[in-house]
Symmetry: C2
Subunit: 257 residues, 2 copies
DNA sequence: ATGTCTTTGTGAACGCGTGCACAAAGATGG
DNA sequence: CCATCTTTGTGCACGCGTTCACAAAGACAT
């Protein structure tokens, strides 16, 4: 990850741990919901439950931002919403471009969660000339040729890549060359970028594969825990059918030549 | 999740670290690409570069699976593809259902990365009666009423939730009650599930918010003083705007410099 | 004021993940 | 068969993140 190689890290004295930063949006979402219900204050215990984390972790996370709570009472919801928004940089407007307006790109363009959090879709870009001018989510798609001009004109520093894997690296390089320094990558490829550029990736199939691993493990444990003859038979049948795991190592399908 | 009892048997049979599991799909993708180029063997250094990780980390990851490499040579690509696929449970077929066929759900249904890795979209489910029967990605959408029957008939254990936030928890509960034990959640909500059910979440706006944080760090160094001045004014406005403050009343309007 | 009660903020211990560095293993060449 | 060279597999140390547990801080009642 690019963060690992950060030269002269923490340009700021107060370094907020990466894990904490990743949770701040979670807290913000829970707090926004409370704010809409006009809840004035919330305890770390309540907020932690709403955000799905441990309360001690939440308190420690907030401690990195400062002492914004009141002992014996909790946290002021409105105030905390503001503080976290400020810390995340959401009090300013972030123009973003989405490159690759396929199914996913269109879904992203229509996604309401962006606009509500200070992100503004400045442009949609696609390589297909047939797409040019066609409105998606009320925004006309522009051709890739315009990429550099769009970035420059709108002062875009955040780009979203939703192209096929084959085009991602090239698009990435053009974005970076044009001035983009943060990239959200949906293409199933490892992007290589120069220092100073942040990349976050979202790979849909990877998430499913991780789930499949745990699912397989659960099935195996279940059969193992209940030493039931029927379940054991099913497990063997499944193993034989799909080359699953046996009692020990399995027979390799292909051996080194 | 509120319960917090996530890990049942952290290291049971063969304790593969969670971090390693999360990287296996990455290796698999790189290996598949090599396989398609008919590359017979690959060194840890090369593969690590292709996967975007450290070579020592990769070797340690593989060591959890067993000793599949040959010293002085590297790893047999085909053999490793099979071993990782088996470990991830991708040698068997995983029927999945997608609930919520909006823009995102449709994009997921069309996503090619699923089918190519052993995942089969068994059904698309939506609450809108107008959607029923309409084909998306060649699969007719079915109404939510059929949810339990679909899960049962197809032996589905993995569900994808792409509904609006408000409907997610309810859908989740129905999925779990019907037998689903792994959920990939795209709705911006914290799902609470019973023990034994795995949930992975993908929140598009959270990723952007994390990028915005780093972007602000990068860009906000020289303009820091000016920004702070503006933000301080906004802080007062925000504090004054707070309506129902309750009995406690006073809220600190400015944070310590 | 004073005591009690609630909740924050944090010091400290612990566990996990990462990266270094190197010995062991095996291929390769003479 | 031996020497050399390449690359794996891993012991070890370190740093980050998580969790516990508790003292300090403040609200609230009397």
């Amino acid at each position: 990850m690019a963060t690992g190689r950060t030269h002269r890290t923490a340009t700021r004295s107060r370094g907020i741990p990466e894990a904490t930063v990743a949770r701040l949006p979670l807290y913000l979402r829970a707090l926004t919901a409370l704010s809409e219900r006009s809840v004035p204050t919330v305890s770390s215990e309540e907020l932690a439950a709403a955000a799905g984390v441990n309360s001690a972790k939440l308190r420690k996370d907030f401690s990195y931002l400062g002492s914004y709570g009141t002992r014996g009472v909790g946290y002021d919801v409105e105030y905390l919403v503001y503080q976290i928004s400020r810390e995340l940089g959401l009090t300013q407007d972030w123009p973003v471009v989405i490159v690759g307006i396929g199914n996913l790109g269109a879904a992203l363009a229509n996604y309401g969660g962006f606009a509500s959090r200070g992100f503004r879709v400045a442009a949609l870009i696609d390589a297909d000339p047939a797409m040019a001018g066609k409105p998606v989510a009320g925004i006309p798609v522009q051709h890739t040729d315009e990429l550099e001009k769009i970035i420059d004109d709108n002062g875009v520093s955040i780009g979203v890549i939703a192209t096929p894997a084959g085009a991602a690296q090239q698009v990435c390089e053009r974005l970076v060359a044009a001035g983009v320094t943060s990239i959200l990558n949906f293409a199933p490829t490892v992007l290589s970028v120069p220092d100073g550029v942040d990349v976050r990736k979202v790979d849909l199939s990877i998430e499913l594969q991780i789930l499949a691993f745990h699912e397989q493990r659960k099935a195996g444990e279940e059969a193992e825990a209940q030493a039931d003859a029927v379940l054991a038979a099913e497990a063997e049948a499944a193993a034989a059918k799909g080359a699953g795991k046996g009692p020990d190592g399995d027979v390799p399908a292909v051996m080194p030549a």
